[in-house]
Symmetry: C3
Subunit: 265 residues, 3 copies
């Protein structure tokens, strides 16, 4: 099970192995997710051309798919890369940004899940609910529902897909059909910084590259994310400075800090 020690072990593994994480993600968050991956010790690459996604994913240790600013050619590349990853047992994490906000996002999310069979799906409550046909009470890409209210939907999604499902929110829930891990780290200000949900997904990509227990890898990523957020909040004066201190905190995160702030079960 998750413990302070298991978080420390996997974070050190990311730092030592510096896994190549292939991202096909959205324009808004590319910079901060690349910086977060570098800060945590991984090696990010962003590539989306049909001509190269299969070659790129072959040399990567994990694949992150995120539909935040989707369009047809990008979705085609996501599916191409996702299939190539699955054929080679390279783990895939999927972020269904804005599922439920438009029919196109919901439909595309279901298509990606079907064709790429991601090992982990991470979303906010309304996105997870939209993926099982619930009216997800979304506001564009922001959820109006609490993470807890999506627990049933998440269980159903696990059953339908076989994926580990992560609902992020004030409490993050990570579940695989047998176990539900609750991660309570994090602060509300993280919701005022664009792309921190997407960054959480990218960190799952880093951790799944070094730990094939996808429930644990996801819980570790969410824990590291949340603790770095708490540490950053203490040094910040608002969402601008917090974004910057979050990257510093991620880079410097010590065993002692993990031990002190760890709050998962």
């Amino acid at each position: 099970m998750i413990s302070k020690e298991s978080v420390i072990r996997d974070l050190n593994a990311v730092r030592l192995q510096s896994p190549l994480v292939h991202n096909i993600t959205n324009y808004v968050v590319m910079n901060i997710t690349a910086n977060a991956l570098l800060a945590v010790g991984a090696s990010p690459v962003m590539a989306h051309a049909a001509e190269e996604v299969e070659d790129m994913v072959k040399i990567a240790s994990s694949l992150v798919i995120n539909i935040g600013t989707l369009s047809k050619s990008w979705v085609d590349a996501m599916i191409k890369a996702g299939k190539a990853a699955r054929e080679r047992d390279i783990p895939v994490v999927f972020d269904p940004v804005g599922a439920g906000a438009t029919a196109y996002r919901t439909k595309t999310s279901l298509q990606i899940i079907k064709e790429c069979r991601p090992g982990v799906i991470r979303g906010n409550a309304s996105e997870i609910m939209a993926l099982v046909g619930d009216k997800g009470n979304t506001k564009g890409v922001d959820s109006m529902a609490s993470s807890g209210s999506a627990l049933q939907a998440a269980e159903l999604l696990v059953k339908k897909t076989g994926a580990v499902v992560v609902i992020s929110g004030p409490v993050d829930y990570i579940m695989d059909g047998q176990t539900v891990v609750e991660v309570k780290n994090g602060v509300p200000m993280m919701g005022r910084i664009t792309g921190l949900g997407c960054t959480a997904t990218a960190l799952v990509g880093a951790f799944m590259a070094v730990d094939r227990d996808l429930l644990l890898a996801s819980a570790h990523a969410m824990t590291v994310m949340g603790i770095a957020g708490e540490l950053a909040a203490k040094r910040s004066d608002g969402p601008g400075t917090m974004q910057i201190h979050f990257l510093d905190a991620l880079y410097k995160l010590s065993n002692e800090e993990i031990t002190t702030y760890f709050n998962a079960k």
Copy 2:
């Protein structure tokens, strides 16, 4: 008319209502404009696929169109979204980035204005001048002309389009054919941070979502922008730190700060 009280009222309305602002904007500024919208209290969404722009704009409270890194498929989506917005009386603000620098930008700007009939057009002096056929003395996306020198062009543009026109610069002019509001807040360093013009446009999007008096909404946005810039400059050591402190200032902006710094008439 604009007053300290009207600025405070609308800023509080943005914070309370947290309107969904749909942005079809450029790659360079997506991150900072999303962060600025979150900081001011709005809920940003970025979506540009032809398959979903109409669905997305329908659930939004305003639409921001910005051609900073335009290409054909994006312009098509802008027009599609803009038309859908107008049909539903969802207010539209348009930023003709780089109009005058290339024929393609000028032509596209005029096409968007014609087909989407934006309620507000915000640009720098050379962009506004280019839209009425003046040689705008542009340097790429930066204006070489002062905001005051574009007043005549702006008046003509108001007449031609019926839109509120905002010329931003050391003094911002906001006009609707009857009234000209001058906003004197802001500092020169804002010109050294990429995307703050585009951010001003996005903030107009947030304010027009809560106030259908588009002259006032635009003047409020420019005032809030300028005051946050002044506050950020005091805490900054250059354009890097200023970008960050600008977001903090926007987030924390108090009634007292607005009262102290307000400088519009």
Copy 3:
């Protein structure tokens, strides 16, 4: 030859002339490279539509081509702009991001070099090695080889292309077939911030706009980059704060700081 005085002279020229630098670059770094160009005193513009790249490059003082997130339509625009630039003797710098990581990146890089004949090519060791057919030991977009190990490959690339070649790393090597300049400024933390390699290329774009001695212009850009990085590191607590202080340092860089930190030969 390069000297403290020549660096100071060219930096002041950039600040005085504020050259328009046309960038066709990647999504991840657009914001930070635009901010770095503004901070150093240049005027950046990003434009990639086939409809306008020729018009834009005609009014620019230099062109920066970067394939970090390449796709077919972007490559077509890069080549169109590159050819138009060469016809008008507007200097071009090319950044072959990730060459060697996928066949598509290597092939595209060679095509751009052939068709646009860039005056400067800047890459990390593995990218430079990949361009002459060496197995470059790349990890996505990061080099696993030291800059010194690519010296032979760089010499060959100079011979094949006639371009000035810049290998960046702990020591930057800048060579034109006759002279090799070594720039030793910089700190390892720069590798933990996404896009600083691309930013170096953009700064070469700014300096080549004011100095047609491309060996010197490139060495000046790498020196300014490295000194700003050293200054930023002193004020930073990790890669997040460092990115911000780097922009401030670039903006404020004084003759005294250049004199104190200059470390090239």
